[in-house]
């Protein structure tokens, strides 16, 4: 009951502040651009080369309007070649700074479009919290978070030191007035002889912080509100990754208990009972039992179903293949032409991870964002990618990632991926199981000869659209008097097909 009450109060506050914000938004958008529309345009047209908060192919664009005039930006975006040709010094300097790589021209943009984009880059009319997770939060905090991420997060984190100090609950440590003065222009504050400011400057080896004269007092208040706000951890109710260990363990326990009871009965028969028949029966039972279990144990030798080694990088197939729907063959690209399916080299990882340097998906209790970010960092460390400068480190000696082989088909059996993937059109999941749901890969099939033969016996061969079978199919259907042919009937059961 209590929580319901609380909820309605929070809701009231949110509604009130949202209405207020909407009103504010309306006023602002009259003069400048529309933030949401700008975001859309930015994502489609600019985001390939620009990010708000850091350099990509082109410069970071957050608050670019503070750096360049609106007219200049309009001219540059519409036709930067013309602007450079007109002899504009800024434009030519920029072109030189980026090694003469021209930016695309956008003559199709209207002035309103460009205003919208600039509104988005300056982030002033704040995004109204859309999803429920943020909606529970005071809008001031949500806006503060955005401002923090756009302006501060390059050097500060809440919970740990980065370039600058950790900022969680900084208001407990410093006065509000001091923080305002420091953020707006820390150089001036230091020049005024403030002892705290100078001590801080010294502590960080005289590395000056950027001044932020563009942040209004209101903006700074919002940022401070965010730093003192304790974020409620996102739902940890995410389904635990396919953890089948528990139900398995319970059945194992049941069989152990049953086995022990049975053993006790047998022991009792031998020790206490005088019934001869019972003793003989128990002996036979015992002998067969040992034989059965013994052979069972021997047949497990070399079978590695459920084998799930700890890999050097905890690559989640669930995230890549399940959530983001990347095709198996995007990374395992040699499966279509080669005997092996191919373990992707790191340049394939970098096709996406040049841009995606951190994880933003759902987290579980034991695997948080920092964990996944660390795993991505391992890729960077191996290939020598400097994610802050978005460039490969010069003269870096790359280190191979030592992945651990999961599926080991016995060396005396020949298996070819291309034959199964390209010719037969067998899906990867047929043999490897639902990999797209696996946080860590484990062996799904037994990889025994019986398992191979079973599939060859039951799988119909795809004859259509394969010129090779045009003749042979007619002959086979005459010979066997049937319409459909399984792999085994075509000789898929001959020893020499796989063992040679």
């Amino acid at each position: 009951m209590k929580s319901v009450k609380k909820h309605s109060l929070v809701n009231k506050i949110i509604y009130l502040s949202l209405t207020f914000l909407l009103f504010l938004n309306f006023n602002v958008s009259g003069q400048t651009g529309n933030y949401d529309k700008g975001k859309q345009l930015f994502n489609v047209n600019c985001a390939a080369c620009h990010k708000l908060d850091k350099k990509l192919i082109g410069p970071a664009l957050a608050n670019i309007t503070d750096k360049r005039s609106k007219e200049w930006l309009h001219a540059w975006i519409k036709d930067n070649n013309a602007l450079r040709a007109s002899g504009d010094a800024d434009a030519n300097a920029l072109f030189k700074e980026y090694n003469g790589m021209p930016m695309m021209q956008y003559p199709q943009f209207t002035a309103q479009d460009i205003d919208d984009i600039l509104a988005y880059t300056s982030g002033k009319p704040k995004e109204i919290a859309q999803n429920t997770a943020v909606a529970k939060v005071d809008p001031k905090v949500a806006e503060g978070k955005q401002l923090f991420q756009a302006n501060c997060a390059a050097c500060h984190k809440l919970d740990k030191k980065l370039i600058g100090p950790a900022l969680a609950n900084i208001t407990d440590k410093r006065s509000k007035e001091w923080l305002h003065a420091w953020i707006t222009d820390n150089n001036a504050l230091r020049a005024s002889g403030d002892a705290d400011a100078n001590a801080l400057f010294k502590e960080y080896n005289g590395m000056p912080m950027m001044p932020f004269p563009q942040l209004s007092a209101d903006d700074i208040d919002k940022i401070l509100a965010y730093t003192s706000y304790v974020e409620v951890k996102a739902d940890v109710t995410q389904s635990k990754d396919s953890n089948l260990a528990k139900p398995k363990a319970s059945t194992a326990w049941m069989s152990i208990v049953l086995g022990l009871v049975l053993l006790l009965v047998i022991v009792w028969i031998f020790v206490k009972s005088n019934n001869g028949f019972l003793k003989i029966a128990a002996t036979i039972f015992l002998l067969f039992g040992i034989a059965y279990l013994g052979f069972g144990a021997l047949f497990q030798v070399g079978i590695d179903t459920d084998y799930q080694p700890i890999q050097p990088i905890q690559f989640s197939h669930k995230i890549h293949s399940g959530d983001n729907k990347i095709d198996c063959q995007y990374c395992h690209s040699s499966a279509k032409h080669s005997k092996t399916s191919g373990i992707p080299s790191l340049n394939v990882c970098m096709n996406c991870h040049k841009s995606i340097s951190e994880y933003n998906g759902p987290v579980t209790s034991d695997k948080d964002k920092a964990f996944y970010d660390g795993e991505i960092q391992k890729v960077y460390d191996a290939i020598g990618w400097d994610k802050d400068n978005t460039a490969y480190k010069p003269n870096f000696e790359q280190v191979p990632v030592k992945w651990i082989l999961v599926h080991n088909l016995a060396d005396f059996a020949y298996f070819n991926h291309s034959q199964h993937v390209t010719v037969a059109g067998v899906t990867c999941q047929t043999c490897h199981g639902p990999v797209e749901t696996m946080e860590e890969v484990k062996q799904f099939s037994k990889l025994t000869m019986g398992w191979c033969i079973e599939c060859h016996k039951t799988t119909e061969v795809k004859m259509k659209g394969n010129g090779y079978y045009n003749n042979i199919h007619d002959q086979l259907s005459k010979k066997y008097g049937i319409e459909k042919v399984t792999e085994a009937q075509m000789g898929g059961q001959e020893c020499g097909k796989c063992h040679y």
Partner: protein, 186 residues
């Protein structure tokens, strides 16, 4: 007699317990693990190889060599190279259904995640805001030469896809992208 039964009972217990202790982080017991034919004696694709200085079996091709089936690509990975490819490079493949069908299959594997089924830039990664700024093909003045060049070397945030596709497959994708672009421009 009694001893034998006692031993038998103990053996049964030991065997049945051994089933419960299987740890799936390590491999199961192997019979003559090093000498049987389960693990290869020969050098395997991703194995180690003491004959090479870096110890890897997978070696990059020797500089200046071309492996079978591959066609050397002479245009440089520069802005001038891009312009040159845009204007002069032509596809060696004829436009036919087989090429288009395989182009579509390859496009679906290697391109849809970002560029979308229709080439409008609305792939899953774009929709989930993992990878932003993917252009619609109709908004770009691209030719078959420039498409091939970009698949080969990548451009801006798109990486090179040369290592995942053969020369023929690249041209087939080019053909299919051209088709998507004409459909989008309609």
């Amino acid at each position: 007699m009694k001893h034998i039964f006692n031993i038998a009972i103990l053996a049964l217990l030991a065997i049945s317990l051994s089933f419960c202790s299987r740890d799936n982080r390590t491999r199961n017991v192997r019979y003559m693990a090093s000498t049987d034919m389960y693990t290869p004696v020969s050098y395997e694709t991703y194995g180690t190889n003491p004959n090479y200085t870096n110890g890897l079996d997978a070696q990059a091709p020797v500089p200046g060599t071309i492996f079978r089936g591959e066609v050397p690509y002479e245009i440089a990975n520069t802005e001038e190279g891009y312009q040159l490819a845009l204007k002069t490079l032509k596809s060696p493949l004829e436009v036919n259904d087989a090429n288009l069908a395989n182009g579509k299959a390859m496009y679906t594997i290697y391109c849809t995640s970002c560029h979308g089924d229709k080439g409008d830039g609305q792939g899953v990664l774009m929709q989930r805001e993992k990878f932003l700024g993917i252009p619609n093909y109709k908004d770009r003045a691209i030719t078959e030469g420039s498409i091939y060049h970009v698949i080969m070397y990548g451009r801006n945030m798109m990486g090179s896809h040369a290592s995942q596709l053969t020369d023929k497959e690249r041209w087939e994708i080019v053909q299919y992208v051209q088709k998507l672009r004409t459909d989008l421009l309609k």
